[in-house]
C-alpha cells in the first residue's frame, strides 16, 4: 500500500526500523571516526561520582559532547577545566537511545603552549593577589634538621640524588612520602603528602620532619603541570614546616616555587640547602675547642706570670726590719750624745756669764767719772763756738757793705726810669702831631675815616700845641688836598690803639 500511496518513493530502497537505522548510523560513525583528534575549548566540565568526566568541546561554529571514562581519566596528563583549549584524541560514539553522538576521549593534550602559559600566568596572578607568595610568609630553614621529609617519586633519579647529596654532607633521617609526580592523580597525592607531613604530631610514632623537600626531575611544561595545580600550591604555602621546592631543572619554574620558602634549582641543590656540611662543622667545633684550651691556658699563664712578677717586686720583710732596727739604734745613740752635749754647752755659758758679772759700786764709780769728763768737754766746746762766731762776724764787715749796696741800687733804678720815659715819649702820637699832623676827635672817639665824619658834626682838632673846636662842612669840595687832610688822622688812630 505504501507503493500506491507514494509513487515517487523508490520501491527498491530498503526499509529500516528506527532501531535498524540507529544501529546503522552508529556503525558508520564508529567505524569512520574510530580514531580522531578534535580541537576545541572545554566547556561545561564536570566530574561524576563514578569518576567519569563529562564536558563539551566547542568552537565558534558547533558543540560536541565529550566523555572520558574513569580508566582513561586516570591517565590524563593534564587536569581538564573549563576554558582550556585542548586537542582530544578518541572516537565518536553514538547513543541511539537519544539520537545523539559524542566523543569518547582517550587522552587530552593542551592545544598549544601559549594557551597553557596564559593559564599559568593568570593563575599565578590570582594566587599572588591573595598574598600566597608574599616574602613575609617565608620562613627560615632550620640550620641542622633532624628529620627531612621528601615528597617525590620513590623510584627514579630524584630521590637517589637527594639521598646521595645528604649522605655526602650530613647523613640525616629521611622520610619519603611516595607520590606520583605526573598524571591526573599527581596533584592530589602531592597535596595529601604535604598536608600529611604537616599533620604529624610533634612527638608521635612517625617523627615530624623539620624541613620538607618537594621534588621532581625535569620535564616538559605538561610533565611538571601537577606542581602548578592550585591545590598543590596552596598546600605548599600553608605548610607550617619550612618547604623547599625542587621541580625540574634550573630554568623550569612552577607555581610551587613561588609558594615555597626556598626554591632549589635542582633536587641536589635542595639537599644542599637542607643540611650543612658535617665535616666543616666538625672542623669548626674542633677549632673552637682547640682555641678554648689555648686561650684558657694562656689566660692562666699570663696571670701566673703577673703574680710572680709582682711577688718579685715585694721587698724582704727581714731586711726591712733590720734596716729599721739599725736606724733606731743610730737615733737613740745620737739622742744620748746630744743631751750630754747640750747640758755641757749650757754649763759653760753660765760660767762665762757669771765671770762677766761686776759689783754695782764699781759700776757707779765708773759712770760718775764718765759724767764729769762729759761736762768738761761740753763747757770747753761752748766757749770755742762763741769765739768762732764773733770772729766770723768781724771778718764779714757787714755794715759798710750793706750801705753801699743800697745806694747803688737806687741809682740804677733812676737811670732806668728816665730811659724808659724817653722811649715812651718817642712812641706817642704827640710826636706825630709835632711833625705837623692833627687828630680829629668826636668827644673821646678818634675819627678814622670819611664815613665817620657826618656834615654838621662838631669835632675837636688837636695840634701839637693845643685843641681847637671845628664843624664838618660836608663832602670834600676841592677833591685833592682836603681828602688827604681828612684821611691823615689814620696813623694817630692806630697809634692811639697802642695805648
Amino acid at each position: 500500500m505504501d507503493e500506491k500511496a507514494s509513487p515517487t518513493l523508490l520501491p527498491n530502497v530498503p526499509e529500516y526500523s528506527v532501531g535498524e537505522i540507529s544501529r546503522a548510523i552508529k556503525r558508520t560513525l564508529e567505524s569512520d571516526f574510530r580514531q580522531v583528534r578534535v580541537r576545541g575549548e572545554i566547556t561545561g566540565f564536570k566530574r561524576a561520582g563514578s569518576g567519569h568526566l563529562y564536558f563539551r568541546l566547542k568552537d565558534d561554529e558547533a558543540v560536541l559532547d565529550a566523555c572520558c571514562w574513569r580508566s582513561s581519566a586516570a591517565r590524563l596528563t593534564i587536569a581538564p577545566e573549563d576554558g582550556l583549549e585542548v586537542v582530544c584524541v578518541g572516537r565518536i560514539s553514538a547513543y541511539s537511545g537519544r539520537s545523539s553522538y559524542q566523543l569518547i576521549v582517550d587522552s587530552i593534550e593542551l592545544a598549544g603552549e601559549g594557551a597553557l602559559l596564559k593559564l599559568l600566568e593568570d593563575r599565578r596572578k590570582r594566587l599572588a593577589a591573595e598574598g600566597l607568595f608574599d616574602e613575609a610568609r617565608k620562613r627560615a630553614l632550620p640550620f641542622l634538621p633532624d628529620v627531612i621529609g621528601v615528597v617525590t617519586s620513590p623510584t627514579g633519579a630524584v630521590i637517589r640524588d637527594i639521598l646521595h647529596r645528604l649522605r655526602d654532607r650530613f647523613p640525616r633521617r629521611v622520610l619519603l612520602w611516595p607520590v606520583l609526580v605526573q598524571g591526573e592523580d599527581a596533584a592530589a597525592q602531592i597535596t595529601a603528602a604535604i598536608e600529611g607531613f604537616n599533620r604529624l604530631p610533634e612527638r608521635g610514632a612517625v617523627p615530624r620532619p623539620d624541613v620538607l623537600i618537594v621534588a621532581r626531575g625535569g620535564g616538559s611544561l605538561e610533565d611538571l603541570w601537577a606542581f602548578n595545580e592550585e591545590a598543590v600550591v596552596r598546600a605548599a604555602a600553608a605548610s607550617s614546616i619550612p618547604l623547599i621546592s625542587a621541580v625540574g631543572h634550573e630554568t623550569d619554574f612552577t607555581l610551587i616555587d613561588y609558594a615555597a620558602d626556598r626554591r632549589a634549582p635542582t633536587p641536589t641543590a635542595a639537599a644542599e640547602m637542607a643540611v650543612p656540611v658535617r665535616s666543616e662543622l666538625l672542623a669548626r667545633v674542633l677549632d673552637g675547642s682547640a682555641r678554648l684550651e689555648g686561650a684558657t691556658g694562656r689566660f692562666l699563664d699570663h696571670r701566673r706570670d703577673r703574680v710572680a712578677g709582682l711577688a718579685r717586686g715585694l721587698p724582704d720583710p727581714v731586711s726591712l726590719i733590720e734596716t729599721a732596727a739599725q736606724r733606731l739604734d743610730d737615733r737613740s745613740e745620737r739622742l744620748q750624745v746630744a743631751i750630754a752635749n747640750l747640758l755641757e754647752r749650757r754649763r759653760a755659758m753660765t760660767a762665762e756669764c757669771g765671770a762677766r758679772l761686776r759689783h754695782p759700786r764699781d759700776q757707779i764709780a765708773a759712770k760718775r767719772q764718765e759724767l764729769v769728763s762729759c761736762v768738761r768737754a761740753l763747757d770747753g766746746a761752748a766757749r770755742n763756738a762763741v769765739a768762732a762766731i764773733g770772729a766770723r762776724y768781724d771778718r764779714l764787715g757787714a755794715e759798710h757793705r750793706l750801705a753801699n749796696g743800697i745806694a747803688r741800687l737806687l741809682r740804677d733804678c733812676a737811670g732806668r726810669i728816665e730811659k724808659e720815659g724817653r722811649l715812651l715819649e718817642s712812641y706817642s702820637y704827640r710826636g706825630v702831631l709835632a711833625r705837623g699832623f692833627a687828630l680829629v676827635r668826636d668827644g673821646e672817639h678818634a675819627l678814622g675815616s670819611v664815613e665817620e665824619a657826618k656834615p654838621g658834626m662838631g669835632v675837636t682838632v688837636t695840634f701839637h700845641d693845643g685843641d681847637v673846636g671845628a664843624t664838618i662842612d660836608g663832602p670834600d669840595p676841592g677833591k685833592e688836598k682836603p681828602a688827604r687832610q681828612v684821611s691823615r688822622p689814620k696813623p694817630p688812630v692806630r697809634q692811639g690803639s697802642l695805648f
Binding site: L144, F170, V174, V285, S289, L292
Partner: protein, 83 residues
C-alpha cells in the same frame, strides 16, 4: 645549682646555638677581658658546648624510611632501601 642548670640548658640547645656560644666564649677568652672566676666558668661551659656539638655531629646517621598509608588513613613508616 645554677651551674647544673646552665649545663642542663646546653643539652637542649640546637647545634647552631651551641656552636655560636662556643665561638663567642673562645673570643672572650682570647681577648682576656674577663675575671679569673669568669674565665674558669667560661672554660667549663665552653667544654660542655663542645661536647654537645660533637655529640650532635656524631648523631649523623643515615636512616631512610618510606611513609606507608594504612587503610584508615593511619600513617606508618617502613624501611626503605636507599638505592
Amino acid at each position: 645549682m645554677a651551674e647544673t642548670d646552665a649545663m642542663d640548658s646546653v643539652a637542649t640547645m640546637s647545634f647552631e646555638e651551641a656552636l655560636a656560644e662556643l665561638e663567642s666564649i673562645v673570643t672572650k677568652l682570647e681577648q682576656g677581658r674577663i675575671t679569673l672566676d669568669e674565665a674558669i666558668g667560661s672554660y667549663e661551659r665552653g667544654a660542655a658546648l663542645k661536647r654537645h656539638c660533637e655529640g650532635k655531629l656524631r648523631e649523623a646517621t643515615e636512616k631512610v624510611e618510606k611513609i606507608a598509608l594504612g587503610p584508615a588513613g593511619s600513617i606508618s613508616t617502613e624501611p626503605m632501601d636507599p638505592a
